[in-house]
């Protein structure tokens, strides 16, 4: 299921970053993003390893060490709810419930359409907006159920009219 990503695309990503070993994380992040399923397939990891002259186990070590990577397919959009203390005390639990209800999945799960994965994240530095949630590069804070519905609809490409 390495899906739409093509070898040429991966090679292009590698070429754009350069083949220095220190580019490994940047390359893997970009491959993950381009995968459409937010993960790095073994065959792309192997290609990166070969191109950078690294053993595959070193690439795998990095992939499994850093929280942002996945070696298993995930949703197109990752919804990350901060579970660190500043968000925890600002009723993160309620935010979790809003998203779970809106998406019909539990934390850690992916919607059946493969669009959203709901997961916890360590702090991403939006404590002034606690409880905070991050989707891609965008951070949202102080949400209501209504706003959650709007955000999700936006990502789905559907508009919702407020009552």
């Amino acid at each position: 299921m390495s899906g739409e990503l093509k070898k040429e695309q991966v090679l292009k990503i590698i070429k754009s970053k350069g083949k220095e070993k220190e580019q490994l994380l940047a390359i893997l992040l970009e491959i993950q993003q381009a995968s459409g399923q937010n993960y790095v397939d073994k065959k792309w990891a192997r290609l990166v390893a070969d191109e950078l002259g690294l053993p595959l186990t070193k690439v795998y070590d990095a992939l499994t060490f850093y929280a942002m990577f996945s070696t298993e397919p995930r949703g197109k959009y990752i919804i990350e709810i901060c579970q660190s203390a500043p968000c925890h005390v600002m009723n993160k639990a309620a935010l979790v419930q809003m998203f779970e209800k809106q998406l019909g999945i539990k934390m850690g799960e992916t919607t059946p359409d493969g669009l959203f994965t709901l997961q916890y994240s360590a702090c991403f530095g939006a404590c002034d907006l606690a409880p905070a949630v991050k989707i891609g590069e965008k951070v949202y804070g102080k949400l209501t159920a209504q706003k959650v519905a709007e955000i999700i609809a936006n990502y789905r490409g559907v508009s919702v009219c407020p009552k």
């Binding site: 192997r46 053993p55 186990t57 795998y60 070590d61 070696t71």
Partner: protein, 580 residues
Amino acid sequence: MQKTGKAAKKVTVSIDGRPVTVPEGTTILEAARQAGVKIPTLCHHTDLKPRATCRLCVVEVKGQRRFQTACNTPVADGSEILTNSKAIREARKTILELLLADHPQDCLKCVRNQNCELQKLANEYQIREVAFERSEKDLPLENTNPSIVRDMNKCVKCGRCVEVCQEVQQVAAINTANRSVDFGVSTAYGESLADSPCVYCGQCIAVCPVGALTEKDDTARVWEALDNPELHVVVQTAPAVRVALGEEFGWAPGTISTGKMVAALRRLGFAKVFDTNFTADLTIIEEGNELLQRIKEGGVLPMITSCSPGWINYIEKFYPELLPHVSTCKSPQQMFGALAKTYYPEKAGIPAEKIFVVSIMPCTAKKYECTRPEMQSSGYQDVDVVLTTRELARMIKQAGIDVEALSEEEYDAPLGISTGAAVIFGASGGVMEAALRTVYEVVTGQELKDVDFKEVRGLTGIKEATVDLAGTKVKIAVANGLANAKVLLEKIKAGQCAYHFIEIMCCPGGCIGGGGQPLGTTVAIKEKRLEATYDIDRGLKLRKSHENPAVKTLYEEFLEKPLGHKSHELLHTVYSKRKY
């Protein structure tokens, strides 16, 4: 260990109130050892880099807020070190309890029972109860390849196997992976070793402090064969086993146990006790002639030896383009297997299908080698079962044989007759030296007076020499350990290699340091095994393979001539690129 060219400055420190003077840069661990204090360690291994991750070796250093790890902290002049304070004992106990809470509790059923570094520490620290909650990981056991079994439930995350695989061997089949409670050792994407670059050298097993990495135990299959009255079970023993087996019985490293081992094998019920050394001599005849032929006929040079199955796995996986450099000779173990099911049955008048061949090897890769489809030239699987030195010791102990009390016995003829050139196959440089002894006399037609080629001996990773064969200068190189082999291979690839002949052994030090040897192997122990190896050689009358009378008879009666038709059929093989 830090070494400097200049005479190192000395520093004096107090360890548990007693002064000790050591060279600057000495670790606390080493300084304490010199002061007669053994600081407990788990992740530390004498021959590897300090990792300081298990934290068991912590000590108190006066003036330091935190405890220091003895394994990697150099002593500072004038420092006062406490290795056994109440706080230190408590810290070590807590660490051990934490490790035990995360470790299976089935020591009695573990292959490392009574030979486990964690168990030993738990005993020394009298851990009678564990205050912390037990966690069951229930990770799958990997035992799907012929050589290595991995049980990551038992892993204590010391990282020794990773250093060996990544740096010493540079195979990189396993590495650290994940973080936090999931941190551990893994192949890429959790693939099986069979799908990984693993060459089955078993060096990971050799450094594992616990039962997480073990050889695939095949003793049951050997017992079964021995119990089967229909079978004629013969055994061959590799050169490096005889200088290491004794360690399993508590004998000093370097004890030569050939005669007692032979006696014990007979007690176990083997019909014939033969010697891989016989086919080591044979290898020299075949391989020496192959080398001469390549030199004469402009074949691919340098030619590289092919005795070490881990090395063969390595080149097939990593440098398949260089395979034409590898001698087509099978390893001595496999030459033995092929003859044991062709030549020997004819001679002994026993049908080949009744013959069961067991090998005792210092090696885990040999277990895989004997299962290769190419290794059935007798029409049967040439070698049926390979046991490591460790497994043989287990069988002897199980049989209740008091090796100490046994009288020494001799190998059976004819496949047990060998020369000093064969026994040194067990040491890095040995195959080269043995080959030179023969090639010299073949090429020059003169007697070689001094058979000792000392420049190719020893544990150095890469050894080079030029040998004068009556005017023909032969350039040779010897590498042991795959990281060193890689250096030579890269040179060949770059065309910077003017060698004629290269010996490569997969394991550091050669087979005496093999992955199937007694546990606890260190450089110091390898040196003892080397000494013993050369002692055996020196003590023998025949020290050149071509002088082996049984090998001569073999050619007369059966093979006809080196590199002949039968040789090609039985003693030579082909290699192929292997994907991973």
